[in-house]
């Protein structure tokens, strides 16, 4: 239980500032305060159209949380000298929690900046931004959850605002319909998840992740069936949150109906949030089950899910005519890649940290490139150009820089060696090969070769097709959307030379869980 220590590296003699231990969850608190501040402002000046104010407050809030998170990551909070646990171990702050909080807050900041244009003239801006902040708060809590109880509560905290955000366009039937679908499947999977938790509790007698692990360490003889079903149900809950097979079918509906910035938020941040709890719960609590007698081989289950998810996501994406739906299926495919981070784990395997670290690094880069791609779609929706590949024809003649950014996102998502997405996929596949799962890597490589087909269709439509006369509606340049898209593109490009930093941080954070 070390205190938060901040080392000033500039001074020759390290300068130690010792902060109280609770400040380790400062990013979470900042997000909560931002959400409350938004509600307060709206309560004090009701009815005032404060879209700009709210956007600025939320952007500052998420950027401050990001800055604190990065500062903690750099200074080694929760990493040097072990993780920091709070509230009787219900909360843990370590490298993995901080790494994922950085993803959530970056995506939230991008989405907030982009939403400013998207929401122009809308009435309930305050509720939109506060819901967004509370959803981010829920995700940040998921990242620091160290007990199945906090996992469940924070997962619901992240989900409930998300349902409302998907249905935010109240007068749009698609938005309301997709919100309802999202909610119903969410409710079902929450029930399954809670049931799974209760079964695991029945076997181990604890909800704390470390004590669950200790309970499983003592052996599951006699309870193997109950434990196995419990673990499987919990895996199902994660499959829902990460939009993996078999609980993936809400994703295309929700992403298509939701306001596009919310689609960006859900497909990047919410997916990563699902993975952070899955990574933590399975690597901390369920590792003993892999070599218990009788063994409960959940890694094999994830391997099967990873293969099915990669294949289904990529093949379904290839058949879409609607760009947003294509991206929705592609994000299912990427969930399949990240699942390799769980599937390639072995009991006591020397490559566990590498595999999971590579999956984390992929989620970070995916956070930028996928958010950027959905925000580009938000821009197209903002102009009212249309939704299909044909409608996108010739957009580069009107918006060259945004189209260039979109080309960057598409090629990076496809894993072309020019941008960040290449290294993260390569690191993932190479570590899977070292761990002995060459067939997972092979499926991944083949499906990502296939993905170039449908990603390049977007680029072809934007750059090579002739405009078909529907682009005259483009009469304005939405500054916020442009800024967010360009920033995401710059990050995607810079993460090629900067990839070592992301990968080393992620591998260190993941290895700490297996130590």
């Amino acid at each position: 239980m070390s205190a938060v220590s901040v080392t000033n590296a500039v001074a020759a003699a390290p300068l130690q500032i010792v902060l109280p231990e609770w400040t380790a969850i400062a990013p979470v608190l900042i997000l909560a305060l931002t959400g409350l501040l938004l509600l307060t402002i709206d309560a004090i000046w009701p009815g005032r159209n404060g879209n700009t104010t709210f956007a600025i407050v939320s952007a500052l809030g998420s950027l401050t949380a990001l800055a604190v998170t990065v500062w903690y990551l750099v200074s080694g909070t929760g990493q040097v000298g072990g993780s920091i646990t709070l509230f009787s171990e219900a909360i843990v702050v370590d490298g993995m929690a901080l790494f994922f909080t950085a993803i959530f807050t970056s995506v939230a900041a991008l989405v907030v900046v982009a939403s400013h244009d998207y929401l122009a003239g809308h009435e309930n801006a305050a509720s939109y931004y506060s819901l967004l902040m509370f959803a981010t708060l829920g995700m940040a809590l998921m990242a620091v959850s160290n007990s199945l109880a906090t996992v469940f509560v924070s997962l619901e905290m992240a989900s409930l605002p998300s349902y409302a955000l998907v249905g935010f366009l109240k007068k749009n039937r698609g938005s309301v319909e997709s919100s309802l679908k999202y909610f119903l499947i969410g409710a079902l999977s929450s029930a399954v998840f809670a049931f799974g938790i209760s079964l695991v509790y029945a076997v181990t007698g604890s909800l704390l992740l470390s004590e669950v692990a200790a309970g499983f360490d003592d052996g599951v003889a006699g309870f193997a069936g109950v434990a196995g079903i419990g673990v499987l149900m919990i895996a199902g809950g994660f499959a829902y949150k990460t939009a993996s097979v078999p609980f993936h079918f809400w994703a295309p509906e929700a992403y298509e109906g939701a306001p596009a910035p919310i689609s960006a938020f859900l497909s990047s941040a919410s997916k990563a949030a699902g993975f952070v709890v899955a990574f933590r719960v399975f690597s901390t609590s369920f590792m003993p089950l892999l070599d218990a007698t009788p063994a409960i081989d959940w890694a094999l289950a994830f391997a099967v899910l990873a293969v099915v998810t990669m294949v289904l996501g990529n093949f379904a994406a290839a058949t879409q005519e609607n760009v947003k739906r294509m991206l929705a299926y592609s994000s299912i495919g990427h969930a399949g890649y990240a699942l390799i981070g769980l599937a390639a784990l072995t009991a006591g395997g020397p490559h566990n940290g590498d595999v999971m670290g590579a999956a984390m690094a992929h989620l970070l880069i995916y956070g930028f490139m996928n958010t950027g791609a959905f925000l580009f779609i938000a821009m197209v929706e903002y102009w009212g150009v249309g939704r299909t590949f044909e409608d996108y024809a010739g957009l580069s003649t009107k918006a060259p820089f945004a189209s260039l950014a979109m080309a960057v996102f598409m090629f990076s998502l496809a894993g072309l060696p020019v941008f960040g997405g290449f290294f993260s996929k390569y690191a993932l596949f190479a570590s899977a090969v070292s761990a002995g799962f060459w067939w997972l890597a092979a499926v991944g490589a083949i499906t990502s070769a296939l993905s170039l087909y449908y990603y390049s269709r977007v680029v072809k439509a934007l750059w090579i097709e002739q405009p078909n006369g529907n682009l005259d509606v483009i009469d304005s340049k939405p500054t916020g959307l442009y800024a967010a898209v360009i920033f995401a593109a710059v990050a995607t490009v810079l993460l090629l030379p900067g990839f070592p930093i992301a990968l080393e941080t992620a591998e260190a954070a993941a290895s700490a869980l297996f130590a």
Binding site: T397, P417, F423
Partner: protein
Amino acid sequence: MIIEALIAFTFAAALFTFAVPNKYAGKTAFALSLVPIAGSLYMWSAFESGGNALTGGEIAFETVIPWLEIAGIQVQWFVGVDGISLPLVVLTTFLATLSIVSAWTPIDDRQSQFYGLMLFMEANLLGVFTALDFFLWFIFWEAVLVPMYFLIGVWGGPRRKYAAIKFFVYTNIASLAMFIGFMALVFGLGPSTFGLPEITQALANDQLGAWFGLAPETLKLIAFLALFVGFAVKVPVVPVHTWLPDAHVEAPTPVSIMLAGVLLKMGTYALLRFNFTMLPDQASLLAIPIAIVAVVSVIYGAMLALAQTDLKRIVAYSSVSSMGYVILGLIAFTEFGVGGATFQMVAHGLISGLMFMSVGVIYNATHTRIVSDMSGMADRMPVAVGILVAGAFAYMGLPLMAGFAGEFFIFAGSFDSTLLPYAPIFTALAMFGIVIVAGYLLLAMQRTLFGPFRLETDYEITPAPMHEIAPMAVLLLAIIALGVAPEVFLEMIFDAVGPILDNGGGL
């Protein structure tokens, strides 16, 4: 440092040009592209050859910076040149500038994006020829495809979409095969870095172990085949050449110049660096099939050229033929064969650049490339036609021009090859290709350039403007200079080629 500076400057120039208004983009790109020329000329003047970069020779302008480590193997920023890559660097900077100038007339839409992409491609080409770390090289290699895809797809002819997609799909699948083949080799070898010199020397020292149950020899053979297929598409050789005529015919002239002049050389350069330097035993094992591929490319490419009616298609197919000579020179595995092949890469880059430029100049004036549409062009465009005729003779191998030197060395080398069985027969067959080249070039020229003027246009055909003639004249001078004094490149090439032959199983 100079290499990083050159690449970084060219990238920055590309970004800057992208933001310049269309009206000034062409002149801006031209001015900016002079800097890489100056840089490459400085490198040339300061270069002292010291063997082959991969086999332990001295690497000029070397920089090694660790980048990241994946699965225990270090990826580095590792660049440098030797006698094989330096001529290609010089060729790249020159052709890029000349093709930018030749774009002033034909490119009349979205100029800033066009010139930005041209410079972006130049930066990546410089990276391809200087990178000495596999990963870094692969990134540049793939990054060349992206601007090419746009350059054909956006500014191309009527069937540009088909041509761009075909180019992109062909070359990407080839890259994937090559990448997987090489990675199998690397994982079997388990080197500490992806540095090409380290991998080459480890392979030469028989450090390759088994990997996933594959014996070292099998692994080497698989890697050789995967690499050969991957690079053969780029070269291209028969039967994987079909993307080339489509891409060339649809691409605008300046893009064709870069495609024929530099991009095809990426394939032969990579074949030399990877297949023939790293895996010479496998090359000698497969000598006969490779020589057959080379000779078939020479003859069949030339016959295809003979059958075309479009001037650009004629030049495009004759590139397939010329690249066949380069493969023949490489597989001969003699000093003159490999050295001549490397020299021919540069020579063919200049000559095919000149040919595409000439066809482009005629097309700018006539808006047709069909042989039977025109006649007697020499009457109206004497200077341009004069340079075109000179270029055609260079293509046919007229002595004292660069093409003669390259082809002569290749034939001399391949005739004496000890590695290639039946070498004199293969050489004789390939030499027959020259006769066909002369046949189709003379035939096409006689029909289009000479005789009474005939072309139905509703405007007057006037001589080509200065900025179209100047790059052609520069190229012609360079071709003659290299033909008269091939030793300016040959010495450093032979220096770098020698160690490959000592290293290999050939001699």
